[in-house]
């Protein structure tokens, strides 16, 4: 086993920062998944595919405007909205009729959709991978005591807490958020009070999928936009949701932090085995807290 030499404090600090920006994407995607899981009790396997669609749409919209700054910002706004619309159509068209049915049906349906979306993406965009560059002022890197820190990662570090704050506001301060939390705990009661639970579900599903699209849009400039994106992210997102506590958004944040930080610090300490670290962390958490770190909604 070889440890990386010269692990200075600055290097560690920088790895932490990089890990945190990775956390942002993971948190956004996982929180959407957690929201849907908590309120609708559906493990939405198509969540990863919506993330992938968000990334591809961002590429297309940005390229329409010549991959300029305007194109990117426009794409960042429009692509998640498109994903939200798609999810709305799917929900109203198919899922809402299945809520009364057996749980497995919904799971299978989301799985089927993940396959359908995957092939749809292949049909529309082809199987080549796409590359998107961030707008000019987000390109390049800062130098923090000799180490490069990409500007785009800094941007993600700002966006992350903003989204978290927005979600907190949504679930705690708005009416729809409170109703959603109530429906997560006891949907019969919410129905008994006279609130149309079906529309609550629709709203929550759309918000959750919007978050998936947003994650995909934000990650688009940092990596290759390819076919396998959905499988990679859905596994990580589910693991984060499980260790954080099912349905708990703050659990998703905690899980994303654990995942992202163990990944980047592991890369610094033992780079040959770096892939293993986040999963080892997951296993460790589950050994000690099998129900997840924070309280789960179920």
């Amino acid at each position: 086993m070889e440890f990386a030499a010269n692990i200075t404090l600055f290097a560690l600090l920088q790895q932490v920062l990089v890990g945190l920006s990775r956390t942002t994407i993971l948190f956004i995607v996982a929180s959407g998944l957690s929201l849907v899981l908590g309120v609708l009790r559906i493990p939405n396997i198509a969540h990863g595919s919506l993330y992938m669609i968000g990334a591809f749409l961002t590429y297309t919209i940005a390229t329409l405007f010549g991959q300029s700054a305007l194109g990117f910002w426009l794409a960042l706004i429009v692509a998640p909205l498109c994903v939200a619309v798609i999810s709305f159509l799917v929900e109203r068209g198919l899922f809402c009729h299945l809520y009364e049915r057996e749980h497995m049906m919904l799971l299978l349906f989301t799985f089927a959709f993940s396959l359908v979306f995957g092939d749809m993406v292949k049909l529309i965009w082809g199987s080549d991978y796409r590359s998107l560059t961030a707008p000019l002022f987000l390109q390049g890197s800062f130098s923090i005591s000799g180490f490069p820190f990409p500007r785009y990662n800094l941007f993600l570090l700002i966006v992350g807490p903003l989204v978290a704050a927005g979600l907190w506001f949504l679930t705690n301060k708005t009416k729809i958020g409170k109703i959603a939390r109530a429906a997560a705990v006891d949907r019969e009661m919410v129905g008994a009070i006279g609130i149309n639970v079906s529309w609550v579900f629709a709203a929550v599903f759309v918000i959750g999928c919007y978050l998936a699209g947003l994650g995909g849009a934000l990650v688009a400039p940092t990596q290759n936009i390819t076919q396998g994106m959905d499988h990679a992210i859905i596994i990580e997102a589910f693991l984060i949701v499980i260790i954080g506590g099912l349905g708990n958004i703050w659990g998703a944040l905690l899980g994303a932090l654990i995942f992202g930080l163990t990944d980047s610090i592991g890369i610094l300490l033992l780079p040959q085995f770096a892939i293993v670290f986040p999963y080892m962390a997951v296993v460790t958490v589950l050994l000690f807290r099998p129900k997840g770190l924070l309280k789960s909604v179920w």
Partner: protein, 407 residues
């Protein structure tokens, strides 16, 4: 009685007539069938399309001039989708149902080894295009498999030859955590250590194939402060890694080497955003050397397909030259005679003269080492300071092949 004999006579006339129709057509229409199994979906297609297109161009030229040995050439392609099971069943279909005379393929090393095994059993010559595992002509080589692409052993020797001349002492190795990545890294490092014994390995980083975010790996490598880095990425991760290198300024802080970093297929998608000063080895540039053979090849390819040829096109052309040339020399379509003629044969190509070494059926390809640079007149980066390493200097010795095959 009379009716029955009339019946029997007309039946036999009918059967004889059918034989006249079927038999000649089965003789005249018997084409020389070449089966290509490769991945035509996803990112690898960018490389494999060139192989098929260049090969078909040559086949069509020969067909237009009347065919070869009195037969027309028929090229059958099958998509393996980069999956070994799909590719292997496609290969079986081509061999058992279509009765192909020659098999060609594929960019996936695992699939290439599987098809090589099948062709050994069925005694069908198999020309490997693109798959870079050294096992193909090394440990798992046999009479019926040929390679017209460089493999990790050749890359290792060529890269080491180039890197040994540079002043770098402390190295870091990073790459895709799968067979190809480790094979390239081992090839380069073992040869480098032999040529320059005082080089030191500070550490290694291995990420999963298809890793989305290289930033934490890059920052970790930089904190170790190596003199140079050997980056062993496979087809899928070369472009994303170069992108991340540019974004983090990795190429400006530490020199690094990556096989295929100077290739058209890698640099074109990045446009002018590719990192400069990356050391790379490659098999082919359409702009170098400016020999008449290369120039006319580029012109013909561009006229036919409206794009500049990348290295895959040269593999396709080499395959065509070896296969059709050997059949012409053999004088008839006989597998064993064909193989006897391919062994030791040399052909003219855009790379100059290329010989098929008789012992291990490996084409002796030259390697070019260069550095990426922005040059006016191109809207992507090209290789400069190109050093040619001749084929015979990069081939593993026959003793090494013997040793590998004995294991």
């Amino acid at each position: 009685m009379k009716k029955l004999s009339v019946f029997y006579i007309s039946l036999s006339i009918l059967i004889i007539a059918c034989m006249f129709v079927i038999a000649p057509s089965s003789f005249a229409a018997k084409a020389l069938k070449i089966g290509i199994v490769d991945c035509y979906s996803g990112p690898p297609a960018a490389y494999t399309n060139d192989v098929r297109d260049a090969f078909k161009l040559e086949a069509e030229k020969i067909n237009a001039a009347g065919g070869i040995l009195g037969r027309k050439i028929e090229v059958l392609t099958r998509d393996s989708k980069f999956k070994v099971d799909l590719g292997l069943s496609a290969a079986k279909e081509l061999i058992y149902r279509e009765n192909v005379d020659i098999m060609m393929g594929t960019i996936n090393s695992a699939l290439a080894l599987a098809i090589s095994d099948l062709c050994k059993k069925e005694k069908v010559p198999f020309f490997v295009t693109f798959a870079k595992s050294a096992k193909i002509t090394g440990a798992k080589g046999h009479r019926y498999v040929f390679s017209i692409t460089e493999n990790t052993a050749l890359v290792g020797k060529a890269a080491a030859a180039g890197l040994a001349k540079k002043p770098y002492q402390k190295y870091w190795i990073a790459g895709d955590d799968y067979e190809y990545g480790h094979a390239v890294a081992d090839g380069v490092w073992n040869n480098l250590k032999k040529m320059k014994p005082d080089v030191e390995l500070l550490g290694q980083s291995w990420w999963k194939v298809g890793e989305p975010d290289f930033t934490p790996y890059i920052t970790a490598i930089l904190s170790a402060k190596p003199d140079a880095v050997i980056v062993a990425t496979g087809g899928r991760d070369c472009v994303p890694f170069l992108k991340a290198a540019k974004a983090t300024g990795f190429n400006e802080r530490v020199p690094f080497f990556m096989h295929t970093a100077t290739e058209l297929g890698t640099l074109k998608p990045l446009g002018l955003n590719a990192p400069e000063n990356v050391i790379g080895t490659s098999n082919y540039f359409y702009y170098y050397p400016e020999t008449s053979a290369n120039k006319s090849f580029v012109k013909n390819f561009e006229t036919a397909f409206n794009r500049k040829p990348a290295v895959g096109a040269v593999y396709g052309k080499l395959a065509a030259e070896f296969i059709f040339g050997a059949y012409k020399k053999a004088g008839k379509v006989d597998t064993e005679k064909f193989i006897d003629n391919v062994q030791g044969m040399w052909v003219n190509s855009p790379l100059g003269q290329v010989t098929m070494r008789a012992y291990d059926h490996q084409a002796m390809l030259p390697m070019f080492m260069g550095v990426t640079k922005k040059v006016a007149g191109y809207d992507f980066l090209i290789a400069t300071d190109i050093v040619t390493i001749p084929g015979k200097d990069v081939m593993p010795s026959i003793a090494e092949i013997k040793k590998a095959r004995k294991k």
